[in-house]
Point group: C2
Chain length 517, copies 2
């Protein structure tokens, strides 16, 4: 834990050496997580009231006139019963019905972690950072791009656990492609419970995998608790344009029935799955997200759900998705403004880049989008660490770099306080013109806390840096990731719970096919 | 010009091959510059009215009670005559006097270029991007860090000229250390007039160099014109805390007398030359900047001046300046809010990083600060391209990368229009659920313009990129810089003006010492 940020390391630094000291510290729950971020800076609304109303109006007309497909018989029947106009799976939803349902979803909720100290709040002024999800490849500690394994996934969970500004781990940060698909989810879930005590994400690739997620959560949190209290977040993507498919709806029904929030996220490649228009894409994606949220309230009125967006623009010449573009940043802000209109928790992404390497392109892209995410008022900031190559690759180096950047953004988003202004002015009076402040008591008192110090960033002299071997940022980050993994200690899991999880997995592995045929 | 951004390249692409074709295009003034950015997105005010008032109040008290040094007898005498309380060079300025003087400075002005098509507007909702200044080292086209030369400087001026989102060149992007100091400024200025027809910056390192700047500008623009109309911008740094030194005041007096705007910028290493407090540093720097602006109105009431800030935080452990920190971003926003309070054009920096290499650290830092600059409402966004290593190094690669990012920020800051919403909704009706938009007429019509495409960013497939030799972003950027320099053609300078400039330089070289003794 050599190189974590100043204000964090001050609270996590080893107070005594050796295994015993580390254990004492672990028992005392060392800070591996900052509290839920309470945002202290304003949001940035790009639209005036008229323009916002115009987009809302067009979203309503899409759902009323064009309609949206819910490709599941049960879902379509539920819509019909609720009063929507249905033809097969095509559902046209009147704005009154839609808004009445959306209004049932809470604007904030508490996400419980198995360690209550890691419990977070989502919605309102509360924001959390959550690492990436779903990469088939990793850029490993030797800088090679290869398929991800279970060992990689568990290593990422450990890094997420040890990163103070990450408030949750994800589910499959990388895909453990060394495991057979039918049983893969069991080992993903096991890792979530064993290697971290932060909040986590559920599995959505099949109804029974969602049910297994719920079942294992019940072993950890207790049956009754998981029936009513959010303990996980899952992602349910719409297929833009205007389709919620059967697999996603199956998972959504399982989670909503258990009051477990999902990110209702149209996955939009703007220009391909939306029109080639910033506001046009937003009007469509808004319609898709609202229809999804409204449907969840047919399943369980009042269940917490998150209004989500993932919108990147497409290079119209090659069809390739681009990250970090100005329109992607604008869309983030527009969707945040709409989420506030509807009183819904808002999910967007930060640090989701197109770059293939953790190089300057990745830095540009990541921080353009993360800044937009912060200013959009996003409550659930996903893909906040690790993402490369439009999500195809999870990078160890970028994971720890992004995680440190999240700590910087955390500080930024807390805003500015004026309560130290008078003391600072006393220091000015004491120093006066043409001197410096380094030796004043005011400075000495604030030495550790005045300004954020990103430890993975290099600011020393050229000569000193050369003497250290001129390490570039990826090199320093890989060293940090290795050091974190070396120092990792399990957060501890009740032995009975652990055995019950293993027994569950063993039983399900007997029931499930060994592999896809 | 292979790899410039989409919306720019569409307007600059070669319409016919060969030298004749290129010459025709040059004669038709190909677009090498976007118009002044008219910002269409809101500013981000971090402070409520009470907190803003509190900081203003403390700034006033600094100037009234502590005072500020104007280390020049004439300047102190001017303050005394104006009614300030002076003791030697220490000047205490009553807030009424200060604010009366500040109110004389205009909130906007026109900056004339020698090519009227490059003339820009500074202040209000108008913003310009200006490349970096003052690096002793370059990171060259072979990736080596070495001292800068006149050849480097001229190459950077050519790149600035060819970068559409850069609205000005700088003066000494890198220091031409191969020239003797006493005569260096003449060759810097010559290059500004010859290799670019965009606005430029003046020399401030001695009174006679400022006078030479004015004299050469008069050769280019005409004597009378330069007596009254802004044709250049110069930087006049305060020495924080609370000192305006004689060299800077000498240059300031020359420029203000000719109605030529300066960036009145306290150069603050926060924690060392200010107190270790974000708002404390802002209150001090605000006092310093306002005192400088007020002084210029004693020289020439109504002369346009720019309220400037350069504030980076210091690593309190090593004393090293840090870039891209959350407090640096916050200070940018706070100073922008104060500039609006006083109705002054605002200068800040973007892309000024601590990183030694154009790597992911540089990308993170650059875009955190540039986003803050955009949201601060900055009118003069300096150091927008090229800066590495806290300003010690000018990087060719980062220069062209940053310049392309400026084009992205330009697009972002223009904001969102809703005038294409109805057409986009027609496209949604036509496409409906479960299809795609790529073949629609709406998409085809907007193929080139819908979304920004950063050509130096790599978004294609891994396999294609490997086939191209897996170039990292610096490699691609160096290729771009070489291609731009290969394709560069002079903007053209009147032969009589050219000869007069050469004659002036020859005469001054006879008058000035050959080198410092």
């Amino acid at each position: 834990m050599r190189r974590l940020s100043e204000d964090v390391s001050a609270r996590t630094s080893r107070r005594s050496g050796g295994r015993a000291g580390r254990r004492r510290e672990r028992m005392a729950a060392p800070l591996v997580m900052l509290p839920t971020l309470e945002r202290g800076i304003p949001v940035l609304d790009l639209l005036g009231a008229d323009a916002e109303e115009l987009i809302h109006e067009e979203s309503m007309r899409i759902l009323e006139e064009v309609g949206i497909d819910f490709r599941d018989d049960e879902a379509a029947a539920m819509w019909r019963e609720a009063g929507a106009d249905t033809h097969g799976h095509r559902v046209r939803i009147d704005r009154t019905l839609l808004m009445d349902l959306v209004a049932k979803a809470p604007s904030e909720y508490t996400m419980h972690a198995r360690n209550p100290e890691r419990t977070v709040r989502v919605g309102g002024r509360n924001s959390i950072f959550v690492p990436m999800y779903g990469a088939p490849y990793v850029r490993d500690l030797d800088g090679n791009r290869r398929y991800g394994t279970l060992e990689d996934l568990y290593a990422f969970h450990k890094l997420a656990y040890l990163s103070p500004a990450l408030h949750s781990t994800s589910a499959l940060i990388c895909e453990p492609v060394d495991l057979p698909v039918p049983r893969r989810h069991l080992h993903i879930l096991y890792g979530l419970f064993r290697w971290s005590d932060k909040p986590f994400m559920g599995i959505v690739t099949a109804k029974e995998r969602a049910e297994d997620t719920i079942a294992m959560a019940k072993i950890v949190f207790g049956e009754d608790f998981v029936n009513d209290n959010p303990v996980m977040t899952s992602v349910v993507n719409a297929n833009s344009p205007l389709v919620w498919d059967a697999t996603m709806l199956d998972a959504l029904k399982v989670y909503a029935a258990h009051n477990q929030p999902c990110l209702l996220t149209p996955f939009a490649l703007c220009g391909a799955s939306t029109s080639a228009s910033t506001v046009g894409a937003v009007a469509q994606v808004n319609a898709e997200a609202l229809a999804g949220i409204a449907f969840t309230q047919l399943i369980r009125p009042g269940c917490p759900m998150v209004y989500g967006q993932f919108m990147v623009t497409v290079d119209m010449k090659t069809g390739a998705p681009m990250g970090g573009t100005p329109e992607a940043a604008q869309m983030t802000l527009l969707m945040g403004q709409l989420a506030r209109r509807y009183g819904l928790p808002f999910r967007t992404s930060g640090s989701h880049v197109g770059a293939k390497l953790p190089d300057i392109q990745a830095g540009y892209e990541a921080n353009m989008l993360m800044h937009a995410a912060i200013l959009s008022g996003a409550n659930y900031i996903w893909h906040a660490a690790g993402w490369l190559e439009a999500g195809l690759t999870a990078s160890y180096a970028k994971f720890v770099l992004d995680a440190e950047q999240c700590a910087a953004w955390y500080r930024y988003a807390q805003g500015v306080k004026t309560d130290d202004l008078k003391d600072a002015m006393d220091a000015v009076r004491q120093v006066g013109p043409a001197s410096h402040f380094l030796g004043t008591q005011h400075t000495l008192d604030r030495f550790e806390t005045a300004f954020f110090r990103p430890d993975l960033m290099e600011f020393g002299s050229w000569e000193q840096w050369q003497a250290e071997g001129s390490p570039d940022t990826e090199t320093r980050a890989v060293q940090q990731a290795r050091a974190m993994l070396d120092s990792y200690e399990e957060p501890g899991l009740d032995e009975g719970v652990h055995e019950a999880l293993l027994a569950f997995i063993a039983r399900r592995e007997e029931e499930l096919p060994a592999d896809v045929s």
